[in-house]
């Protein structure tokens, strides 16, 4: 199974704004192997989300690739920051998910629905959805995000791209979603690119990290080693910006 060829190889990627040609992402390179999770961390304007969109092949309007290559050996699917925005508000969620399964897995209508329900089950969505379909507005933010993840998984991706998937959620829900994603990754074995501004989440989720600042990767490497011994002052600054929360008594 293990191949030497990486699953995703980004080589010297540069992105620029169309009018004016302002460089937004500046010759960045990284590779992602099977089963790995790569974290792209940085603040707003660092180009981390744009990089992710370039990998997915969905650059926003007015941004174009001006250099480099993206070689991908597997299909990818994306989980967005705003789950409500990623769902069609006028279509009930099971129906939406069934559509995705139908078109991506080329199953019969009936089999698609069964597959969709199985996915929902796997993501811990309430059983009641099987009988009564609901609109996104009737679900909580965390439940919507689970539906979005299910839709991404319905594409049977080799690479799951996550763009700040928990930023818009409450902390208890955030924890559940992160646990769900981690468990699914163990089970299904997809690789992940995980974009976040939260170093603590990145540290917990990722095996490799790329620290980005103003469109450049200032530092990259194996996650633990990088955080233990950050070389770049920007990485150090980011680490210092993580506000500490003391450990609970009795949790050690």
């Amino acid at each position: 199974m293990m191949s030497i060829q990486p699953l995703l190889e980004v080589e010297g990627l540069s992105l620029a704004a169309k009018p004016g040609g302002k460089i937004l992402v500046d010759t960045i390179s990284f590779t992602l192997n099977k089963g790995e999770t790569l974290g792209l961390v940085g603040e707003s304007g660092s180009g981390k989300s744009l990089t992710l969109r370039a990998v997915l092949g969905l650059l926003p309007r007015g941004v174009e690739k001006v250099g480099g290559a993206i070689q991908s050996g597997a299909s990818s699917a994306m989980v967005f920051q705003d789950p409500r925005g990623a769902l069609d508000p006028l279509c009930p969620v099971v129906k939406q998910l069934t559509e995705v399964v139908y078109y991506r897995q080329k199953l019969s209508r009936k089999a698609s629905r069964a597959a969709a329900l199985e996915l929902l089950d796997r993501l811990g969505l309430p059983d009641s959805l099987k009988h009564t379909d609901r609109y996104p507005s009737q679900l909580s933010g965390g439940q919507c995000q689970r539906v979005v993840i299910a839709m991404a998984l319905a594409c049977k991706p080799g690479i799951l791209l996550c763009d700040e998937p928990t930023t818009a959620l409450d902390v208890t829900v955030q924890r559940q979603i992160i646990e769900t994603i981690s468990a699914l990754q163990k089970e299904l074995g997809f690789a992940m690119v995980f974009v976040t501004h939260n170093l603590a989440i990145a540290a917990a989720m990722c095996s490799k990290l790329c620290v980005m600042k103003e469109g450049r990767i200032v530092e990259q490497g194996e996650a633990r080693a990088l955080l233990q011994n950050p070389q770049d002052p920007y990485t150090q600054m980011l680490m210092n910006s993580v506000l500490p929360v003391p450990e609970l008594e009795g949790s050690v």
Binding site: G141, Q174, R175, N198, I201, L227, S241, L248, E249
Partner: protein
């Protein structure tokens, strides 16, 4: 300790939804109360009621033993100021920084017209914004800078209580840090009394003396900071605290083995 603000049995309904359900709260003078809770817990509603933006359906607000009525006087308004979450919307886009700061100063007669300019510059200096910012407009500043200007405006009228509703949540982590540092400095210098709202327990830990936890319109726990973070009394607080993503213990700290929990 004397209390600066007392809230008694505050209740607010929006239609059939109860946003605040009999909240009692006490803020001591020169102390910061950190109010934490998840979305929909009613913490912002509480802030807006105290600031006089929403009239409560029931309950009382006492500011240093003075009962605040639905219709507040100019003097009462002056005593409670508020800073909001969204830096893109916290300043009037059509007003220059000079207009924004001097309107507050002049309306509450903090200084007379001749001294307005000097006072504005002093405040900008205090929040680390260069003095040449006076004739610029909000869109020319970054989010962190706008929040600093909002802080200057709120504090310039010398309020008894400053309410800050998620003032750093929309900012980048490094900017958040510097804005929090500013809050801490001003707190010391001006002996502020603050009601500081955040969903982020890291921020609450950084700024508060006392922590209050809200859930579904009710206050579930109020405790001093240190014991709260070590030994929360309620299961809900414990759940909140244990869900916070923490940096893994790295080799520089001995013996840690926490990365099993995220």
């Amino acid at each position: 300790m004397e209390s600066a603000l007392q809230v008694k049995n505050l209740t607010v309904h929006y239609g059939g939804f109860t946003a605040l359900d009999g909240v009692d709260l006490n803020i001591e003078r020169h102390a910061t109360l950190g109010l934490v809770g998840e979305s929909g817990s009613g913490k912002s509603t509480l802030a807006r009621v105290v600031a006089g933006l929403i009239a409560p359906d029931e309950g009382q607000i006492l500011l240093e033993s003075e009962l605040l009525t639905k219709k507040r006087s100019r003097e009462q308004h002056k005593k409670i100021q508020m800073i909001f979450q969204n830096p893109d919307a916290s300043l009037n886009p059509k007003h220059s920084i000079r207009q924004i700061l001097s309107e507050a100063l002049l309306f509450h007669r903090i200084v007379d017209r001749k001294q307005v300019e000097r006072r504005c510059r002093e405040w900008l200096d205090r929040v680390h914004i260069p003095g040449n910012a006076l004739d610029r407009y909000p869109h020319e500043f970054s989010g962190g800078q706008r929040q600093r200007i909002a802080i200057a405006r709120a504090l310039s009228v010398e309020p008894r209580i400053l309410i800050a509703d998620e003032p750093t949540s929309a900012l980048d982590v490094s900017v958040q840090r510097s804005v929090l540092d500013l809050f801490n400095t001003l707190k010391e210098e001006l002996q502020l009394t603050m009601l500081f709202i955040s969903h982020d327990l890291g921020v609450i830990h950084e700024i508060s003396d006392t922590v209050a936890v809200m859930k579904q319109g009710r206050l579930v726990e109020v405790q001093a900071k240190a014991p709260f973070f070590a030994r929360p009394e309620t299961a809900y607080s414990r759940e909140l605290l244990s869900a916070v993503p923490r940096m893994p213990k790295l080799s520089t700290t001995p013996g840690g083995n926490h990365e099993s929990r995220t």
